[in-house]
């Protein structure tokens, strides 16, 4: 049985088809990269998989269960593009930020008990941030905050991890750390990961499946025929910003 199955899924927003008849299958432990220009449907498909949006046609199943029926959202961990759009002076510690994601596991009174505190610590160990557990979130660097958000997602031990352009605005060294941590989670913990990215060069080193998007359509196994030049061409065609590359 496939882990995640997307069958003939379409999604229209104001009569415009944003996702068009997408078929996709992932096994447990896959690391899939969604590549493509802005507006090609990658992020929308993530939101469909998450169950945040409902497909106008087709079905998405996680371990055979339609995602529309999943009530426990913590089974799927998601980092959105907007994750960094929080108030940087918000007076909360790393512990509190990670702990808040355990909301559904807290008892009648929504507080952290010792068992949950342990989960927080373990999730922070996973991203090598346990030493900064009592730091204020706003005092951390962008890369460190990104790792806190991975810990916040991992604290619920999700089966599927969805990352929507998590590396926008993160420097190169922090990107390496990020890939190392996600790689560990993917390989050692056998977690299935889907990551939307613009950087095909880097992500193709880590992902075992590349899915390319164009005008709402997805092209699985496109890693060979999909070149960086096509990608740049696409970006130019859609009149969007081009990511500068120094080694070109």
């Amino acid at each position: 049985m496939s882990f995640l199955k997307v069958e003939g899924v379409s999604f229209a927003y104001r009569k415009e088809r944003v996702v068009d008849d997408v078929n996709l299958e992932l096994k447990q432990g896959d690391f899939a990269a969604f590549i493509g220009p802005n507006g090609s449907g990658k992020s929308t498909l993530l939101k469909l998989i998450l169950g945040y949006l409902t497909p106008t046609r087709g079905e998405i199943t996680l371990k055979g269960q339609p995602v529309a029926e999943i009530m426990d959202w913590t089974r799927v961990g998601y980092i959105s593009q907007q994750v960094k759009d929080f108030n940087q002076s918000f007076p909360a510690t790393v512990r509190e930020i990670v702990g808040s994601n355990l909301y559904s596991k807290m008892g009648l009174v929504k507080f952290l008990n010792q068992e949950l505190e342990k989960k927080i610590y373990r999730a922070l160990e996973l991203v090598e941030m346990e030493d900064l557990i009592n730091r204020k979130i706003g005092n951390l660097s962008g890369g460190q905050q990104q790792r806190v958000f991975i810990a916040r997602l991992m604290v619920n031990d999700p089966e599927l991890i969805l990352l929507d352009e998590p590396l926008a605005g993160v420097d190169i060294r922090a990107q390496d750390d990020f890939y190392r941590i996600i790689g560990n989670i993917n390989q050692e913990m056998n977690k299935t990961v889907i990551m939307v990215s613009h950087d095909i060069q880097v992500i193709s080193k880590h992902a075992n499946k590349i899915v390319c998007f164009e005008d709402g359509r997805a092209y699985p196994h496109c890693s060979q025929e999909f070149s960086y030049d096509d990608y740049i061409h696409d970006l130019r065609r859609t009149n969007l910003r081009i990511i500068p590359r120094h080694d070109h």
Binding site: W73, Q82, V83, N156
Partner: protein, 271 residues
């Protein structure tokens, strides 16, 4: 401790301390969600509720609570439907509340009593007020304790709270109800015009020196209770308006906190 021998003063201190606990408790979440203008709006709507009570001959705190809960639910609806114009809807509700209040006050024969609701009056805090404030304040504290991390998540990132299983819509409605009840209850102590300050100023001071969310709450409570007690005692001895004295005490505390923080940062830089 001469002031404790007066019954009205003991009642005022009891009511003041209860309000002094719930105002910053609600205020922490309200301010961090950048919704502090809601407190200001609701206080003007609550004034309309008070005026309605005086006009109809009901106990004004009852009508103030009912009217401000209705307004709070309307605000929450508008906030959801017109995300980009949330401030506009607040301005409209504030104006409508104040307009209604003025008409009702002028039409009412007992309008003399309105003064104590505008500026707060400790000598008028009656047993009926205490029976009203005490249980409702305890309920508010219990609700905040129960949904602590839910409100925390809403404050940190309302858009993503559902991912953690937080019932966003329900908690938003619950939150608006406790904010409106807090505002209505605080009327007796600090008066309509100054409630919003009691919700914001101690929290503003707490946020300056807090090292975590929990410490923000404790520090805000500490600053709020200090301001309330200092304000009430000073107003007793110098015959000052209690609401104004409490708020000014709060402002002085905020300035002291800012000063101490500045000195601390300067000293640390030199080390």
């Amino acid at each position: 401790m001469e002031f404790l021998s007066y019954t009205f003063m003991r009642r005022a201190l009891l009511a003041g301390n209860m309000v002094g606990v719930i105002a910053p408790l609600v205020g922490v979440f309200l301010n961090l969600r950048r919704l502090s203008l809601i407190g200001h709006t609701l206080s003007h709507v609550a004034l309309a509720g008070v005026a309605l009570g005086l006009f109809l001959g009901f106990f004004p705190v009852y009508t103030a609570i009912i009217v401000s809960i209705l307004a709070a639910l309307a605000i929450e609806k508008l906030r959801r439907d017109y995300r980009d114009y949330a401030e506009l809807s607040l301005a409209i509700i504030l104006a409508a509340g104040l307009g209604l209040a003025t008409i009702l006050i002028s039409a009412s024969r007992q309008s003399a009593g309105i003064h104590s609701y505008l500026f707060g009056s400790i000598s008028l805090v009656g047993t009926r007020d205490i029976y009203m404030i005490l249980p409702l304040a305890l309920v508010i504290i219990a609700v905040i304790l129960k949904y602590y991390y839910g409100f925390f998540y809403l404050a940190f990132n309302e858009n993503e709270a559902w991912l953690a299983g937080v019932p966003v819509r329900t908690l938003n409605v619950v939150f608006m109800v406790i904010v409106s009840v807090t505002v209505a209850l605080a009327i007796r102590v600090v008066g309509t015009l100054l409630i919003a300050s009691l919700i914001t100023i101690p929290v503003a001071a707490g946020m300056q020196v807090a090292w975590s969310f929990k410490s923000t709450i404790w520090l805000s409570l500490f600053f709020s209770l200090t301001a309330v007690n200092l304000g009430l005692i000073l107003s007793f001895y110098y015959n000052l308006a209690p609401g104004g004295t409490i708020i000014l005490a709060g402002v002085v505390i905020l300035l002291l906190v800012l000063l101490v923080k500045k000195i601390w940062l300067l000293l640390r830089r030199d080390l």
